[in-house]
Subunit: 146 residues, 4 copies
């Protein structure tokens, strides 16, 4: 559980931690029930204050992705396969998606390229069985562009 942080970024550290964990959950690297390092431990590993880690964990808890336990620390609460999102999540999320995609389009990335980037990111979340291991029939994305 080592996260790479950029202490000079304008993105707050606690948000970087949160983002990396969200991505790890999306990619399946952290499955439901997985345990995360304790706040103090992770703070030491990252060379930051434990309050900062605390804030990241608390944010993830509020988002429903983590559950915090006095005994066993932080556990991953949900997962890609836990079920559909809570109502209200999608609307707010699509607003942010719209802004982000608009940014690329305004900068001259054409629609198929944008959609290709989205598809590429999504495939990067599925292991796609690097070894001969069963290759779980993933959706075929990427050819809907163009």
């Amino acid at each position: 559980m080592i996260l790479s942080l950029d202490l000079d970024s304008e993105v707050p550290i606690y948000l970087q931690i949160r983002d990396r964990i969200v991505e790890a959950i999306a990619s399946g690297e952290l499955a439901e029930g997985s345990s995360l390092p304790s706040t103090r431990q992770l703070a030491v590993d990252l060379g930051i204050n434990f309050h900062t880690v605390n804030k990241a964990y608390d944010l993830l808890r509020q988002e429903g992705l983590l559950r915090i336990n006095r005994k066993s620390g932080a556990l991953v609460q949900r997962d890609a396969r836990t079920g559909p999102p809570e109502p209200g999540f999608t609307d707010e999320w699509e607003t942010r998606l719209r802004t982000l995609l608009a940014e690329a389009v305004a900068h001259g990335v054409d629609h198929p390229a944008v959609l290709g980037s989205c598809a590429a990111v999504l495939t990067s979340f599925t292991p796609t069985a690097p070894t001969a291991q069963g290759a779980d029939h993933g959706a075929e994305q990427g050819d809907s562009a163009s």
Copy 2:
């Protein structure tokens, strides 16, 4: 040039202004060369401090989307048709895209649904089918450009 702002949002006002303008550019509503209202005018229209508008315009200038002349005010500097993005844009943008898509996946939105949302957003930007390409019945905006 009427923007809808949410003064109670956790998103800073200057960022909301910037976001709305970026979306207007992406949708073709604001084409290259279009002029924006003066900072003071827009500030009055929105009922906010003109420094806030100034900050939004300056951010857009830094991003290469606006150019600001002392005499002609703010003009849209670039466009979906202007050409490919500056080098360095895409990498940073894809990092943010990755985080945003991860959020949806972690909350249980499956990959096809995510890709569908991306496609839906893009079609909502489509400026009335500039090329003969199928022109999926989107809203018809954008004929004020050129």
Copy 3:
């Protein structure tokens, strides 16, 4: 003596145990003189550390609801019928009641609805209508006492 605990709750486990026992006493399920399982036994049943059970029992003892003998274990010390509360109890309790009811009112529950909830909770405690008083068809528990 089976208690349902939520190990992931933000309510400490020892408090959950205490709460469930208080509710059992209020409903008449545990009458004065009833014996509770030993701390070690209950700890095993619940799959938790016996110190946690100990802490719950000790808290109940401090509150005057339990008395603990070295030989006969934990016995219910008092009851709804035992008599009026110790002086000082009511003031502190009403302070907490005030806060709790305020929460509902602030969230838009109107006064009659709040009072209705209070009444409903009380009838759920009713030990099979001890006096002739209307006896609104509640669940029938509590005949194991005396």
Copy 4:
């Protein structure tokens, strides 16, 4: 806006602040749209650290009772007359109500007395027009006890 705190209480300070504000909202002392003192100001007034006030305000924000604004500070977001609570609120609240009422019953307070306390608390939330001032037709609660 002066709150009375007990620094020696085992109830965390930030929770005491939150409780007092909830009660003020319930009693109508703080109506929707009312502004609260800034975190730093209130911290100075109470002689505590501003982070503690911050935590109380943030908790109220999460509960939907406050909205925080960089410009105008904290404003009361909702009210007794704003509308019904969000779904899910009542269930969790009734669980806590059950525990609290059980405590009184177990200590020997009889049901009518408990209900009377509830009614008394509720009437304390309605001003009941202490001066001749219009006496806004409030709900008639309190006589349903006994």
